[in-house]
């Protein structure tokens, strides 16, 4: 399975990765090789098999919805690359 450069760019867009031209070329080669290797799964008959998403039990546990202390704003913002008042700041979204 050989990926095209356009496919690599499409996936990089979905993954929010601004790859350099060299990285795009490298990804194309390496991802194509990995996809070839994983293609052996197509030989396994799974027509009557249910998927496993988790090795844990099937039951999702419940807990009571108790009010618990949460971080004060200054702690929650402690790692913010940019902030304004008690908010995270991001580049302008609406012109």
């Amino acid at each position: 399975m050989s990926l095209t450069l356009e496919e690599v760019r499409h996936v990089a867009g979905l993954a929010r990765l601004s790859l350099s031209a060299e990285e795009e070329t490298l990804m194309r080669t390496q991802l194509s090789a990995i996809l070839d290797a994983v293609d052996e799964l197509s030989r396994v008959d799974t027509s009557a098999v249910e998927p496993t998403s988790h090795a844990a039990g099937d039951v999702s546990p419940w807990r009571t919805d108790d009010v618990r202390p949460s971080f004060p704003p200054e702690k929650a913002l402690g790692n913010a690359p940019a902030k304004v008042g008690t908010s995270f700041a991001v580049p302008r979204i609406i012109e």
Binding site: P51, A56, P91
Partner: protein
């Protein structure tokens, strides 16, 4: 004898009797770090003041007759993906280089409650993606047995620190072998518990259906003690098992007489297995037979598909988990990019290393429209078959034995440019993660070049006690786990 030569439990006893203090134990570790870590490079950050303050508090507790337990005062290290309040937690990534966790993760809280001083944070492959610790954004860690070789990964810093006696024990995480493979390559004991046995709350996520926290120690009793400390139900992790963990010491010394131990023929038929590894592991299985276990050939027919299954499921989950690194709430933010979308793209391109990008790309592709059924869903179905292989085998045997890694430690740089060759390191360890089973590596021999070899013991879900008991039965009759790397002899 140097205090650092003691096991965790031996040190715990000497602390209890007053023969040594926790401050002395921490100082001994720090002295070794000063002497050796310039070469080994296991630590990303050493917390001298914090560790000494915790040791002083531990010594005071004992003086006041309030000892917290067997491990109170025994210094440990943490793989750098456990959130520790006030200390950096980088996950080996540039994108988290400046991240200071605002809270302690659950296992860190449990360690603090048990009174173990935390020496610092240990190197790892970025976001635990790798098998050599070469994917750390900061520097590779070296194997104390031969500094030209890798300690394995992704918990390579934890393994190297324990093997070189800079820490008495450490915690790692294992998504496809990241505790067991480095344990094997550095001659220590490493256990991946059953999925759900240990809380993942406050642990930087890689692949959430596979990740599990576990102990890395010098011998099996220490492993049991550390597991006992962290195997506690946590309401903050919905996959954390509500059932109370059993007493891992109750039958630890009970031996293997009458046990049926399975030898999966698919594992031993793997082309590319190092002959010295094969010989050592076969020797270990015969030793267990001599101790009264019955060796039973078993078949795990879908073993050959585990690697492909893993390398679709783990990257798919990783691509989803790593979407949170967007430069908004924490971590690196790129100065490039005029709008939000461009800022995301540049932040992630600058902050992630190549292997992480590769897996995010692969996972995004496998989950994308038009490919989901062919890749991700297909892999989840094959995962069912792999799990069923083990269920079938465990109807006739009590545990399964295999090599931990197909080769001993490899040279740094040898495999890093070939992702597929690197992925083969995990061929024996990752089926266990896919099936959610407990698995442990114990030292079982050395190559002629004096590199350690590990025996892997896989158990039924929640059967850690038996896995430990088998490892202990082997360990009691051998001295592999007592050998010290040549580096440590200086």
């Amino acid at each position: 004898m140097e205090p650092t030569e003691l096991s965790m439990l031996e040190l715990g006893k000497k602390l209890a009797s007053g023969e040594l203090s926790s401050v002395e134990a921490v100082r001994a570790c720090l002295a070794r770090v000063d002497r050796l870590d310039g070469e080994v490079k296991a630590f990303l950050r050493v917390d001298r003041e914090g560790a000494l303050a915790q040791a002083e508090a531990s010594d005071r507790r004992r003086k006041d007759g309030k000892r917290a337990g067997l491990l109170d005062g025994v210094p440990v290290g943490l793989k750098d993906l456990f959130l520790t309040e006030g200390l950096p937690t980088t996950a080996g990534s540039k994108i988290l280089e400046s991240f200071i966790a605002p809270y302690d993760g659950t296992v860190v809280k449990l360690l603090r409650a048990a009174g173990t001083p935390i020496l610092g944070k240990l190197n790892m492959d970025e976001f635990a993606m790798g098998s050599s610790t070469e994917n750390s954004a900061f520097f590779p860690t070296r194997n104390p047995w031969n500094l030209a070789t890798s300690p394995g990964g992704s918990s390579g810093g934890s393994a190297a620190a324990v093997a070189s006696r800079m820490a008495f024990g450490a915690l790692g995480t294992d998504t496809g072998g990241s505790i067991r493979q480095p344990a094997a390559l550095t001659g220590i004991v490493g256990l991946k518990p059953t999925y759900g046995r240990v809380s993942r709350f406050g642990v930087v996520a890689f692949a959430s259906s596979l990740d599990q926290v576990g102990p890395m120690t010098r011998d099996v009793p220490d492993c049991a003690a550390l597991l006992q400390t962290i195997a506690v139900h946590d309401p903050c992790d919905s996959t954390s098992a509500p059932a109370k963990a059993p007493d891992y010491f109750a039958e630890l010394e009970a031996g293997v007489k009458g046990m049926k131990l399975g030898l999966p023929r698919e594992y031993f038929e793997l082309p590319g297995m190092d002959p010295e590894v094969r010989a050592a592991v076969e020797g270990a299985t015969r030793a267990l037979q001599k101790l009264g276990a019955e060796l039973v050939p078993v078949s795990l027919p879908h073993t050959r598909f585990a690697l492909a299954t893993y390398y679709l499921i783990a990257p798919a989950e990783a691509s989803s988990n790593l979407a949170r690194y967007d430069g908004v709430r924490y971590g690196l933010r790129s100065g490039e990019g005029k709008n939000l979308l461009a800022m995301y793209g540049h932040t992630r391109d600058e902050g992630f290393g190549l292997e992480v990008k590769r897996r995010v790309m692969l996972g995004t592709y496998a989950l994308s429209a038009g490919y989901y059924d062919a890749y991700y869903l297909k892999a989840q179905k094959v995962r069912t078959l792999i799990k069923k292989d083990f269920e079938d085998a465990f109807r006739t045997v009590d545990a399964v034995l295999s090599p931990t890694s197909p080769t001993p430690a490899f040279r740094i740089g040898e495999k890093v440019s070939d992702p597929l060759a690197m992925y083969l390191n995990d061929v024996f360890t990752l089926p266990c993660n896919l099936a959610g089973l407990p698995g442990m590596s114990v030292p079982c021999g050395f190559t002629r070049a004096n590199l350690p070899i590990g025996l892997q013991i896989l158990g039924r879900p929640w059967d850690e006690a038996r896995v430990l008991r088998i490892g202990r039965a082997f360990e009691r009759e051998h001295d592999f786990h007592r050998r010290t790397p040549p580096l440590g002899a200086a």
